[in-house]
Structure formats: C-alpha cells, structure tokens
C-alpha cells in the first residue's frame, strides 16, 4: 500500500494538491489555511509520528518567493511524506506544529533564524544560531556571502564594556 492510498481516507475533505517530485517522495501542497487540518490528519489518521525537518526555500526570483517545507516519517509504515506551502510575503506566516510534534520547535526556530519565517503560535520563537539582536536572515538570497556587518553587535558590546567598565579585568 502506498502512502497516498493509506492517506486517502485521512485526507478526505482537506484541500490539497498532490505532486510527485523527482525523488519520488509524495508531496502535498497546501495553502496557509489548509496547514493545520492537514497536519492534524497526518498525525492522527496518517500515523506519521516523526517530523523529520521543517525548513524553507528562498526561490528568488521565482514567484511566489518562499516555500516552507515539512517532511514526516512513519516508522511503523516505513514511508515518508512531504508538505509544501508557498508564500509571497516578505516574512511568510505559517502555523506552528509544535503542539503535534514537539520536536519541531528547534526546526522552527532555525527556520525563523535563517529565513525569517514567522511561525504563529510558537511561544518561544527566538533565533537559534545567530545572536539574538541580529537583524538579518542569513539564508535569504539577498544576504551577501560575507554577511552584513557581522561584527556590529560585538563592537557595540565592546564599546559598552570599555566605556562603562562593566567587565572585571
């Protein structure tokens, strides 16, 4: 039984399109409003107990620009499914899935850090890798290879350290 046959009843009534990318993993494309019902169906009806990753793709100059990608693994059935959502917003807004798959929390933070995708309902959506006060999202296409003022935050901290003498010597 293929994934799509297994999912047929679970996904009944939820708007989505089925695609088959080159690597053969079945792929479901949904709009923003379809994300939550689809995820719930995958979790309960589809038996996907593992969230493999959450990430985004910056497809500039293609339109729509951003694509948020989730992948799920069912250990029980040994199959995978991928979910895509396209968005043309400057900062795409996507519902969170950490209530269904708590392990997605770090992926969502990383995705927010690197692409600026806002996960609605994520209580702790802070940067994961870059410094908290950093203003840019490094994996976006417009971000230069060597960064935008990578030392700015350090220099600010350093100036404060020297002028206010906060650090013991």
């Amino acid at each position: 039984m293929t994934v799509m046959e297994r999912l047929a009843t679970a996904l009944a009534g939820i708007a989505h399109e089925v695609e088959t990318p080159a690597d053969g993993t079945p792929c479901l494309r949904v709009a923003h409003d379809g994300v939550r019902p689809l995820m719930q169906a995958l979790k309960t009806g589809g038996g996907f107990e593992t969230n493999t990753f959450v990430t985004a793709v910056d497809r500039e100059p293609a339109e729509p620009r951003f694509e948020v990608v989730w992948e799920f693994l069912s250990v029980k059935h040994n199959d995978r499914v991928r979910v895509r959502m396209l968005s043309n917003d400057e900062y795409p807004k996507v519902p969170t899935i950490i209530d269904l798959w708590p392990g997605a929390a770090f992926f969502e933070r990383e995705c927010y850090d690197m692409f600026g995708v806002r996960f609605e309902g994520h209580a702790n959506l802070r940067r994961l890798l870059m410094p908290q006060a950093y203003e840019h999202h490094p994996l976006r296409k417009e971000f230069p290879h060597q960064g935008i003022e990578p030392d700015k935050l350090y220099r600010e901290w350093d100036r404060k350290r020297r002028t206010q003498g906060g650090q013991p010597s």
Partner: protein
C-alpha cells in the same frame, strides 16, 4: 630548564639588580605557563592530545590547563571563533590576570581560514592581541609546542621589573581595588586589534 641568563644583551639600561630580577621573573613565567584551553572546535581535540601523555606538554611546564581564566596566563584559542562567541572569548581574556599571552592555534583562529563567512571572526586578532600564530588545519601538536617554545623565548626578552621601576607606584595603582591598572601588552608587535583603531577614532572625536 632554562638558564638564568641576562634578560637581553641589547637592553642593559636597567642595571645589574633589575636585569637579574627580570631574568629571574621571566624564567619563572616562561617555565610555568598555565594555558586557558579555549577549545572551540576540531583544533581543540588536537590541543587535548598535546596536553596528554603522548606529546606531553608537561616537559615544557605548560600542562596545567585550568578551566577558570583567573588561574591562567596563556590563552590558546583552538578553533573557529564565531562572532556570537567573541564576547565570551573577550570576557575570558579580560578575566585572566596580567601578564597574559595568546596563541592562535589553527588557520581558523589565525585568519578565519576556510570560513570566509558571515558568522566567523576573520582572525582572533580582530578581538584579542595575539602573540603567536600557528598555521595548519589542524596544526600538529608539535607545531603548537613549537609555538609555546617561541613564546618562551619572547617572554625571556620582556622587562617586567624595569617596567615596574619605571612606573611610579602611585601612577600604576588603581584606587581602591588593590591592584595595578591593566596595561595593554606593549611588547606585542602583531596587534591588529580593532580596539586600537576604535580607541583612536574615539579619541579624535
């Protein structure tokens, strides 16, 4: 064990007592460097093997790695320093008591190495005054031991007692703290510190 030779034949200004005292202090300092192991990535593993029995840094008196900066005088930056980590590295350096020295181990900490990228400090000399650079990715432990030996010959040429005598105690003393004002490492010719350039800019304003 090094010999108790005069600090430097060219610098015979200090008189017999001061030069002899310099030689004694330097001899003590150079043979008991206590490293602060700032192992940030892969180079850190090589540094551990350097400290271990096979390469045995204890032969040169520098095996007493301490994980608190308060007890260290040699910072070995072993690995890729990111801008996010730079504040921590600088804080650790500031917390080390004077006199202190820095070895940049590996290309990552010397120049950023292959990580010509937005997150990596392009050489720790952007934030710290480095005394010895060790090339290699990672450098063999022998190379780092060589760097420590080179640092020892440099320490031999320093003039701590004469510096102290040249600075009146009332000037060098920091009010109410019971310690000397922190002096920048004057003997370091390789300083490419952003701090210096920035301090000049600020002074001009």
């Amino acid at each position: 064990m090094g010999s108790l030779k005069p600090a430097d034949a060219n610098q015979n200004k200090g008189g017999f007592l001061a030069t002899r005292a310099d030689a004694l202090v330097n001899w003590g300092r150079k043979n008991s460097l206590w490293p602060m192991p700032l192992g940030l990535s892969c180079c850190g593993i090589e540094m551990m093997s350097m400290l271990g029995p096979r390469f045995d840094l204890a032969r040169f008196g520098a095996e007493a790695a301490r994980f608190t900066p308060r007890q260290c005088d040699l910072m070995i930056v072993a690995g890729t320093l990111t801008w996010k980590m730079a504040e921590a590295a600088r804080t650790i350096y500031d917390q080390m008591p004077e006199p202190k020295w820095v070895i940049a181990m590996g290309v990552c900490s010397s120049s950023g190495g292959m990580y010509d990228s937005y997150s990596v400090v392009q050489g720790v000399d952007m934030i710290l005054p480095v005394d010895v650079y060790v090339p290699g990715c990672p450098p063999r432990p022998d190379a780092v031991i060589d760097a420590i030996l080179k640092l020892q010959t440099r320490i031999e040429r320093e003039t701590p007692v004469r510096d102290l005598l040249a600075t009146p105690v009332t000037e060098g003393w920091e009010e109410g703290t019971g310690r000397f004002k922190r002096q920048p490492n004057k003997s370091n010719p390789t300083r490419r510190d952003g701090e210096v350039a920035e301090a000049e800019v600020e002074a001009a304003q």
